[in-house]
């Protein structure tokens, strides 16, 4: 029996053989792992299991997963969760992006797609009500993201209309694709969608590129999956939107107001590779974006009235024709202040460039900012890079972004992501690893989102990144091992947007989940059981890591060295992330989740959560 909210079928694609099969999950597995991040972790454990440490993340055997959840499309703010063994952290990241692809996969009758193997030539995968098919993508390989999207939209729409010419117009399909960065296996590349959205954390763009898979496209004509209690669901749907519509700050500016606020007020914005976190540059304020670039001030994804997105367009000057979103705060910071760029037009251009090249707009620029600091300190020279890489020089960073995406010159080293590039550069320069790693702003290889912890005034604090199984991911950071389970872990598994979850009460969201699925779920059950089950399994896989990089228990559950250096400027000058508090709180976090003092899940915890089969692999990590 299929529970409410699930289409009930998955597609299993073997790219080596070119075969497409269907499979489904038992009722109990869905109840235990729900969807999205949860079910993806379960798939990865089932398919890789004890081989985890030996399997390279870019090996064809590593599954690439596109997962929806029972809430997707029904609860406001539809998203998809992209996952696999992360080429960046060697653990599991549930990397979500807002896209119509999620809805189209569900209306075609599927809950998700798993890709294994490697195609011998570039392909894209098309999902319709009739199932899935692999199609040639030779003509798309090498194109940037914008051109890929334009071509795919036309090609697939025409093809579908040709197949059923009599029924009238089909709407355009949902699409996710990779750009040159993904094709060339830039380790932290994104899986992109809708021109400027991306599943960025985890580096699944490189995994997709390693499989020769250019895009996933879907068009369904069915309804969204039937739910357990339709009438209650309808009322809750109306009520949830009431909450979203009243979220006026997000509706007006999205996160775009933070480029000034996070710098000037909370002093938590990355500037010049986090050397500073404070600025008072008023031209970064949101009106400078809104009045000059926003051609659509209320832009939303499927079933969303929070509409935190806005469409930006540069209509004149050297970057005429650049189109992107707000840019949202993360890209205002990483494609702006972190490069020492404080001009909104340059910022819009750099954000657009990341979208076009298929870089993750947070992770790629983090690595580029890292390179610029090494240049500033004389570790990397003009000779190494090929030009001067000065802070604030948009053209230089523009060039570096291309070199990284196409793996040219120093770009080939940087394409390994901040952590691995640091190790390579240390080797190149005959330095000790810690001499280059001290400037690398990452946790578990995952470059940190644009929210600092030193001022302690942002929503991120001491162990937000240090303890997270998704490392530097700012969308899934840790609070206490209890309340975060019913928050980010639930949203990523549901799969819906964290911003449509701001407004409606948490009780309403869980009532909605219950009305959809019929599972007896509550906030409490997610905090005590389902959430911990997912995170504990993620933790176990992250501990296994490998083969190129593994993270030492407790030692690597820490912030980057920079977060312990005093802030050099601003109202919180001198402040550092409190080391003692990190140590205390991380122990409390482990204890809450039933992990030992080094963060290894105990046998009792694994048994309690139904993960007894993981126990034999955890033994060797315990003292």
């Amino acid at each position: 029996m299929t529970p409410g909210g699930y289409a009930g079928k998955w597609l299993d694609v073997d790219l080596t053989k070119g075969s497409v099969e269907e499979f489904s999950f038992p009722y109990k597995t869905l109840e235990q792992f729900f969807g999205g991040r949860g079910i993806a972790t379960k798939i990865l454990w089932d398919r890789i299991g004890r081989k985890w440490s030996e399997l390279d993340a870019l090996d064809p055997e590593n599954p690439l997963i596109f997962a929806t959840g029972p809430m997707t499309g029904i609860y406001p703010g539809a998203r998809i969760c992209v996952s696999g063994k992360s080429p960046v952290s060697n653990g599991v990241v549930g990397s979500t992006a807002a896209t119509e692809l999620a809805v189209e996969i569900r209306t075609a009758g599927y809950d998700g797609v798993v890709f294994t193997g490697k195609s011998d030539k570039p392909v894209y995968f098309l999902v319709t009500d009739k199932g899935g098919e692999l199609r040639d993508a030779g003509h798309l390989w090498g194109l940037d993201c914008e051109k890929t999207l334009i071509k795919l939209n036309k090609e697939v729409t025409d093809e579908l209309r040709k197949r059923k010419p009599n029924i009238g117009l089909w709407k355009e399909p949902g699409t996710m694709y990779i750009g040159p960065a993904g094709e060339n296996m830039v380790r932290n590349a994104a899986v992109c969608t809708k021109m400027c959205h991306a599943a960025g954390y985890g580096g699944y763009g490189s995994l997709m590129g390693s499989k020769n898979l250019k895009a996933v496209v879907a068009k369904g004509r069915g309804s969204l999956p039937k739910v357990d209690a339709p009438e209650a669901s309808y009322l809750l749907w109306r009520k949830a939107h009431e909450g979203c519509i009243n979220n006026t700050m997000f509706r007006r500016w999205g996160t775009g107001h933070l480029a000034y606020g996070a710098g000037a007020d909370t002093s938590s914005e990355p500037i010049r590779n986090w050397q500073e976190e404070w600025h008072d540059q008023k031209q970064t304020g949101v009106p400078h974006y809104m009045d000059r670039f926003w051609v659509k001030v209320k832009w939303a994804d499927f079933n969303c009235t929070t509409n935190c997105m806005k469409v930006s367009c540069i209509k004149t000057g050297p970057w005429k024709g650049d189109i992107t979103d707000v840019p949202d705060y993360e890209l205002q910071a990483y494609c702006g202040t972190n490069f020492g760029i404080f001009d909104p037009e340059d910022n819009v251009h750099m954000a657009t460039l990341m979208d076009k090249l298929g870089h993750s707009g947070i992770n790629g620029p983090n690595t580029m900012g890292y390179a610029a600091e090494l240049y500033q300190r004389g570790i990397l020279t003009e000779e190494d890079i090929g030009f001067k890489l000065e802070w604030g020089d948009t053209k230089a960073f523009d060039k570096l972004a291309h070199m990284m995406a196409y793996r040219e010159g120093i770009g080939d080293v940087l394409a390994e992501g901040t952590y691995r590039a640091a190790l390579k550069i240390a080797e190149m320069k005959g330095l000790k690893p810690e001499e280059t790693l001290r400037y690398a702003i990452h946790v578990k290889g995952i470059e940190i989102g644009a929210h600092g912890t030193r001022s302690d005034k942002d929503y991120t604090h001491d162990i937000s990144y240090a303890a997270s199984v998704q490392g530097g991911d700012h969308t899934s950071n840790v609070t206490d091992g209890y309340s975060d389970m019913s928050d980010a872990v639930f949203q990523d598994s549901g799969v819906f947007c964290m911003f449509t979850a701001r407004g409606p009460s948490q009780k309403l969201i869980f009532d909605f989940a219950k009305a959809i699925t019929g599972f007896p779920i509550t906030i409490e059950s997610w905090r005590r059981e389902t959430g911990p089950r997912i995170v504990t399994l993620q933790k176990a896989l992250l501990l296994m890591g490998g083969p190129d990089v593994t993270w030492a228990p407790i030692k690597d559950d820490d912030n980057p060295p920079r977060f312990y250096e005093p802030l050099p400027s601003g109202p919180y000058k001198g402040q550092v992330t409190d080391r003692e508090r990190v140590d205390i709180r991380i122990q409390a976090y482990f204890e809450t989740l039933g992990w030992d003092e080094r963060g290894i899940p105990t046998k009792e915890t694994l048994d309690r959560l139904g993960l007894s089969d993981v126990e034999p692999l955890m033994k060797k990590y315990r003292r």
């Binding site: 009599n166 355009e172 051609v295 079933n303 009235t305």
Partner: protein
């Protein structure tokens, strides 16, 4: 929920409704597609985007096009139907489809200047906006969210009756230039 429910209601409950028209402001559409969900929940009993009488096309992100019946002055769809399955509602002037009579031939789709009608993904019958008896659900959710991409007018036989529906890609191409300037000419193939 059966598809003919709304037809029956028109027969049984004779409401005082005037000729109605849904005005659209394409550049105000956020692309949230809540109109599709509200429409399908009303007519189909559950969320079914491709069965919605109002559909949001998106030939390129940012170019969301509201696509629904424009109630042309001469109703070419009604005239084209070989089995007289299409008629206009005497009160609202919406196009009403008699699903029993419809033979799924697609003549109404071809006759429509904007190819608005479509064959329903469930029963394969011609499907056109029926204005929800004068209280369209799509307008309700759109205005509630403050987008006002869809608004209701009751202007009788006013100027709108001389407007014809247009193909969504044609609309998107115009919108592209309006929003993106010269670049707009490149974003749709």
């Amino acid at each position: 929920m059966p598809h003919y429910k709304s037809n029956i209601r028109i027969l049984l409950v004779k409401k005082m409704v005037k000729p109605t028209w849904i005005a659209r402001d394409q550049s105000a559409c956020s692309g949230c597609r809540r109109c599709e969900l509200a429409c399908s929940m009303h007519h189909e009993g559950w969320m079914w985007p491709e069965a919605s009488r109002v559909r949001i096309f998106m030939p390129f992100p940012g170019l969301e096009v509201v696509h629904l019946c424009s109630q042309c002055q001469d109703y070419p769809c009604v005239a084209s139907c070989p089995v007289e399955a299409l008629s206009t509602d005497p009160d609202t002037k919406a196009v009403i489809v008699d699903r029993e009579k419809c033979i799924s031939c697609g003549a109404c789709i071809r006759a429509c200047p904007g190819q608005v009608p479509f064959l329903h993904p469930g029963d394969n019958k011609a499907t056109i906006c029926d204005l929800c008896d004068g209280e369209p659900k799509c307008v309700e959710v759109c205005t509630e969210a403050g987008y006002n991409a869809l608004t209701l007018t009751d202007e009788g036989s006013n100027i709108h009756r001389k407007l014809y529906s247009r193909h969504p890609v044609e609309v998107a191409k115009d919108l592209a230039v309006k929003l993106f300037g010269e670049k707009g000419e490149e974003v749709i193939e």
